[in-house]
Amino acid sequence: MTPRAKIISARILQAIPVVIGVVVITFLLTRSLPGDPAVYFAGDAADAESIQEVRQALGLDKPLPQQFFIYVADLVKGDWGNSLSTGQPVLSDLARRLPASLELTLLALFLSCLIAIPLGVLAAVKPGSWRDHLCRVVVTAGVSLPTFFTGILLIYIFYYVLDIAPSPLGRLGFLYIEPDPVTGFYLIDTALTQDWETFMGAAKQLILPACTMAIFTLAPIARMTRAAMLQALSSDFIRTARAAGLSQRKVLIGYALRNALLPVVTTLGMVFSFALGANVLVEKVFAWPGIGSYAVDALVASDYAAVQGFVLAMALLFVALNLIIDLLYAVIDPRIGFEAS
């Protein structure tokens, strides 16, 4: 095994204790939530005796360690409990809603990078120029407008005034049939079956909420790109490249930007995390059936299994995300891996 492959597999192994920790914490967290789940499950008309029965049925009368092992065994079997409000197994609820949120967030981040990175690069090439000021104005405006406001504004302009966007009601207009779930991402699923009509329909629904999120996430990415580029451009090796007569394009993109990418990727990971959380407002405005609105509804309804499932799913997602970012580092920077050893 090459040293690099060794380090990557070591990094994957390191994720295992984190996952175990996440499971323990989710378990303890939901046990310490206010309210007695047995009371909720028993219903309004229950007396003390029936509540006790429900408690026994749920296994809540057993000692905590024993409850934990039952919980873990159920998790492994794929039984994440049933949601009170939807009546469905939590796992299938999450499986349907998580891709909706991920599709929205990933597209939003993609759009955001498409604008923010060139903007940051332009700003760094000539700090203090009009481009730099433009960058500052755009990102400040983007981050200071709350997402629900931007969302409603975009709906007003593109749906109500210009009438070029479809009605902001979920992932697909009622004229379309949901594609068979393969990945759960409508754009990918329709592309797989080459159903381009539904693809366009899904894309149209997606574009406004994605833009709303993108505008909100511009600022950190553009600022980090600018700062990292400024630092990279003042490095000695950029001077060497310029003294060797390399073209401006090669110096900027091939040399400076690749070196500046590391902090940008770090920021992207952080932005992705908070975007998934901040999604709730966008999901509410666009009636998006995502995981954020699901979690809020579950929390309001004290839907104990759903909340527990949500927290666990998000935690696992972040563990995976951090793993991917660490692996990306190793791809970008050959020095990583050697320093770790």
């Binding site: 000695d236 090796f237 060797a244 040399y255 070196n259 050959p334």
Partner: protein, 536 residues
């Protein structure tokens, strides 16, 4: 080939416009090597950068002509300038590791240049890049092609930078402090390489350096710059014999070389008496240190032994990786040795582990002066606070007593009292070095470990600091362990020398004896790399 007439360069800074270069005239013929010598801030690098028009932002050429084979470089447009850079005129830099793109294979970086200047196609670029690496005498060039800069040594990186600069066969090479930060023996091989390549290709070379000894050895013509102006120029021999300008004389005096006395470094210097040698203060006994490395254990020290007498000064000489820094931090009790013993004042230092040593009563008896005066000072502390820091932790002095002590220390090291309230960035390099020395002296140590205290300083400042150290040693009856890679400095200050190599003592003895009758090949090699006394 190159004529510079009345060049002016200005920089816009926060404090207004600064004239970095003020009316410089230079002339260089094909095959000739021109040395531009000056200290930091003299405008020598700015002159070189303006040749290639790669000044930092805020800098611009405000007057004069740069005539290169009939082209005025100050006037041509950017596109033609890009064709000239790397193909006609190339440049190599100081700090070679930073001068290379850290995340790109060195072979690819050379290919970038070759292909940009249409000197290679996609199909033969690789072969040509390997050939370029071979030309700078890199062994096993085909596999080095795949190396990243962090996998190569400093000297190897500088060879790669040279290969990159010379890949397109330029007519003029500008070398900006090409050997600063490299070991003395590496310095010699790199400079010999540049000289040989220049002769082979009949190439013009501009060598920019602060080291008059180096410039004198390798240049046909010398130019001395100060404050953006040329103060003196001529052939090395002539210039050094008949220096007219005060500054040139001061620079000449401050340049150390074999056989020079410490007090000769400064104008009107007075010889400092050497304290009489006493009993043995520090005794290092078979100290070893083994680190766990990724490819098995690394033996940084393999049984090192020597003694220092009270009032003596021992020079610990070696190149990077020789273990001299590891050893000095073990003696300073910043880390533990794997085995062996260090006796100080008759008792073992190793009876308390390094991690607990900060609270040890003997902490104040051994103090250290660090290499980089800038990095070793807290940027948020004034000079007075920095000097008072050890007093606050190791003594029971109150604030008034501490203030008195700080002022007395400032006087001892020649730091004007008015500077005590300044932050490090408001002090010059020499002043920061004085603060570092005062801080080490604050708790009245018996032994001072000096870890290359002058390596980052200009020669004229180095001359003053070395004389200060000699003076303090006599006045305060101090014992020095002077760590350095520079034998020409060590021979002036130290009475005993220990030459280290790969974690072992290569040779030791009285300085004069080691220098005049070196026993090991390695010491002879080090001596050869020392600049010769060009100028008497």
């Amino acid at each position: 080939m190159l004529t510079i007439k009345d060049l002016h360069v200005q920089f816009d800074t926060r404090h207004g416009v600064v004239d970095a270069v003020r009316g410089v005239n230079l002339h260089l013929d094909r095959g000739e090597t021109l040395g531009i010598v000056g200290e930091s801030g003299s405008g020598k690098s700015v002159t070189a950068f303006s040749l290639l028009r790669i000044l930092d932002s805020g800098g611009r050429i405000t007057g004069g002509h740069i005539d290169y084979r009939g082209i005025d470089l100050s006037q041509v447009d950017n596109a033609s300038m890009n064709d000239i850079r790397g193909r006609e005129i190339s440049m190599i830099f100081q700090n070679p590791r930073a001068a290379l793109n850290p995340i790109r294979k060195v072979g690819h970086q050379i290919e970038d240049v070759l292909r940009h200047h249409a000197q290679a196609t996609r199909y033969d670029a690789r072969a040509k890049a390997v050939a370029a690496l071979e030309e700078v005498q890199i062994k096993d060039a085909a596999s080095r092609y795949h190396a990243y800069p962090f996998e190569l040594s400093g000297g190897m990186c500088q060879r790669v930078v040279i290969a990159l600069a010379l890949a397109c066969k330029p007519q003029l090479l500008i070398a900006d402090e090409p050997t600063t930060g490299l070991d003395v023996t590496t310095q010699k091989t790199v400079m010999d390489l540049i000289q040989a390549l220049a002769q082979d290709r009949n190439m013009g070379v501009v060598l920019i350096t602060h080291d008059l000894g180096l410039a004198g050895t390798y240049c046909d013509q010398l130019v001395v710059m100060k404050d953006g102006e040329i103060v003196e120029q001529g052939a090395p021999q002539k210039l050094t014999k008949n220096a007219v300008h005060d500054y040139t004389r001061r620079l000449l005096a401050a340049t150390p070389h074999r056989g020079k006395q410490l007090h000769e470094l400064v104008v009107d210097g007075v010889e400092k008496p050497i304290p009489p040698a006493g009993d043995i203060l520090l005794s290092v006994n078979a100290v070893t240190k083994t680190y766990a490395g990724k490819a098995g254990p690394v033996q940084a020290l393999q049984g090192v032994s020597f003694d220092i007498q009270r009032g003596g000064c021992l020079g610990l000489v070696g190149e990077s990786g020789s273990g001299k820094s590891t050893l000095s931090s073990i003696i300073a009790r910043l880390q533990d040795a794997t085995s062996g013993d260090v006796q100080f004042n008759g008792a073992s230092l190793f009876n308390a582990p390094a991690s607990k040593y900060a609270k040890d009563t003997r902490r104040s008896e051994i103090q250290m002066v660090f290499q980089d005066a800038t990095d070793s000072l807290n940027p948020r502390q004034t000079a007075a606070q920095s000097i008072a820091e050890p007093l606050r932790h190791l003594t029971t002095m109150n604030r008034l007593e501490r203030n008195d002590r700080v002022e007395q220390l400032a006087e001892d090291v020649g730091l004007p009292l008015a500077l005590l309230s300044r932050l490090p960035h408001q002090l010059s390099g020499g002043q920061k070095a004085r603060v570092g020395i005062a801080r080490a002296l604050a708790v009245q140590p018996k032994l001072l470990i000096l870890d290359e205290p002058t390596a980052a300083l200009d020669v004229s400042i180095q001359a003053l600091i070395l004389n200060l150290l000699a003076d303090l040693r006599h006045r305060l009856n101090l014992t020095y362990l002077f760590v350095s890679h520079d034998l020409s400095v060590v021979q002036m200050l130290c009475d005993t020398v220990v030459v280290m190599r790969l974690g072992q003592v290569e040779e030791m003895g009285p300085t004069e004896q080691v220098l005049s009758q070196p026993q090991s090949d390695y010491t002879r090699q080090l001596l050869q790399a020392m600049p010769t006394p060009l100028f008497a």
